[in-house]
């Protein structure tokens, strides 16, 4: 791992607890259009709705014989993944290819950074190859922001997940999935269940849900899996699953992130399932038309039972399908924002 990124000066682990630390304005052009997409924080409900509307237009492309539009012909997008990912990297790659961009997958484990090259030198080299966008995933909070602060003016940066800070495209594809099923965000009751502490997805989802006007947002988790700042997130905090699921329109269950747990957060996976695992029986108190979401990958028998994951109310695989359309929207809007600003 390169030394730049390990520096606590750039990536304090408590970054997400200090909202002011991340300047949201860097994401927008002087005209207020998207330039980078790093966090939901600081983006208006109007802009988030524009992303969802644009994604709606891209959603139909999968039905074309030629599943491609020529929009980003001649643009080069680099997937800069410092952390393993299959789904996110693949859907980003698919999104870029469906926009006709050229895609480079930069495997950091075998790249020059492991030979001692600093991250900034790597970036300068990629810029010298005339790349137009970096899609960044990193284990440290603030990594995408750092890269966005240092790239050339013609380059966009998309955050594909940074530490426990943010995963804004995942949040937007979740919003897209909710809107497809529920039409409107007002009057919805959304329950987020599970490992909130380690979840960048939950943080981004809560910000997006609030910005889009959802009044009832509940988080349900044991105390050990809730971040200290949960009280300031504008959500209702519950520790009992049955109470939390009552009359819910949407249930988002999160993966138990064992790889990020260095201490004893839960007694055992078995006990976790007994208390917080999503089962058909537990869901009986939710609304009959409740939809079940999960950002994946799912741990069957840990946070969700197979009958629920594979059941009629599960929209987990739709989330993956919609993920491509939402990423196409974000990629094209960011590149578009830069083009318009340069004109």
């Amino acid at each position: 791992m390169c030394t730049d990124l390990a520096s606590p000066q750039y990536f304090p682990s408590t970054a997400h607890q200090q909202p002011g630390l991340f300047s949201a304005n860097i994401q927008l052009t002087p005209q207020g259009r998207l330039r980078h997409f790093l966090t939901i924080e600081g983006l208006s409900g109007e802009l988030l709705t524009e992303i969802l509307d644009t994604a709606e237009s891209f959603a139909g492309i999968k039905d074309q014989t030629v599943k491609k539009v020529p929009l980003l012909r001649g643009k080069t997008i680099v997937n800069l993944f410092f952390e393993p990912s299959t789904r996110t990297r693949t859907t980003f790659e698919l999104a870029a290819k469906r926009l006709s961009a050229d895609v480079i997958n930069f495997n950091i484990a075998t790249a020059a950074t492991s030979k001692g090259e600093s991250l900034l030198d790597t970036l300068r080299n990629l810029e010298a190859m005339n790349c137009d966008m970096f899609v960044v995933r990193h284990a440290d909070s603030g990594a995408a922001q750092f890269i966005a602060q240092h790239v050339a003016p013609h380059v966009s940066v998309i955050n594909a997940g940074d530490g426990s800070h943010a995963h804004p495209t995942q949040a937007m594809l979740d919003m897209f999935t909710i809107r497809r099923h529920k039409k409107s965000f007002a009057h919805l009751c959304v329950a987020i269940v599970g490992d909130i502490l380690h979840s960048r997805v939950a943080r981004s989802q809560i910000l997006a849900l609030r910005q889009l006007g959802v009044a009832c947002i509940r988080v349900i988790a044991p105390k050990s899996l809730l971040p200290a700042e949960v009280d300031q997130m504008g959500v209702e905090v519950l520790h009992d699953l049955t109470t939390g699921l009552k009359d819910a329109d949407v249930v988002i269950t999160l993966r138990l992130q064992r790889e990020r747990m260095q201490g004893a957060f839960i007694p055992s996976e078995h006990e976790y399932f007994q208390l917080y695992g999503l089962t058909e029986r537990r869901l009986s108190v939710a609304r009959p038309d409740v939809i079940i979401m999960h950002p994946g990958p799912i741990n069957r028998g840990v946070e969700i039972s197979s009958e629920v994951a594979d059941g009629p109310r599960s929209v987990i695989l739709q989330q993956v399908t919609f993920g491509t359309a939402v990423r196409m929207a974000v990629i094209s809007m960011a590149i578009s924002g830069i083009q318009a600003a340069r004109e």
């Binding site: 509307d53 959603a59 094209s332």
Partner: protein
């Protein structure tokens, strides 16, 4: 200067009936280009009593000026209800000007399949072509100054104005 839309639409309808008969097209698929073209197409679709539902195209993702001006705000989904393979397409737009919109629309249609034929209908055809595109049917041909624009408002009621 105001143009009478009702008269223009009747003219288009009559010409279209003649062309379809001449070409022996029984069951065409009509597609309107967002936004004005879709309004015109809706009227013609009703008047000609076309069996298959109307398709609409938003050509934003196929425009040739993306690298200059970026994405148009408020892109709408294209909606082609049926396969275009081996179908006779009636493509409808409000104004044929440079020809670039039609170039983009044809490219998009061909990404959905291989139609048997495409017939182009434009409510107004004006001078200023930049590409070798021509309409098969037009409501009116106008010779305008480059700074003049034709503005269609609608959908109900539809009005057509020449703006200097």
């Amino acid at each position: 200067m105001n143009l009478d839309i009702a008269k223009l639409l009747t003219g288009l309808e009559e010409q279209l009936r003649t062309q379809l008969t001449q070409r022996a097209i029984q069951n065409p698929l009509m597609i309107g280009i967002h936004t004005g073209g879709a309004w015109i197409a809706e009227q013609l679709h009703r008047r000609l009593d076309i069996r298959d539902s109307l398709g609409t195209l938003d050509i934003s993702f196929y425009r040739d000026d993306f690298s200059r001006i970026g994405l148009q705000p408020k892109v709408r989904p294209s909606n082609l209800p049926l396969s275009v393979d081996d179908r006779h397409i009636i493509l409808v737009d409000d104004v044929l000007y440079t020809g670039r919109t039609i170039r983009a629309a044809l490219n998009e249609i061909f990404d959905y399949g291989r139609p048997a034929s495409v017939l182009l209908v434009a409510l107004i055809v004006r001078n200023g072509r930049e590409l070798p595109v021509q309409a098969d049917i037009s409501g009116a041909d106008l010779d305008l100054d480059p700074e003049q624009n034709i503005k269609l408002s609608g959908p109900e009621p539809m009005t057509l104005k020449i703006v200097d």
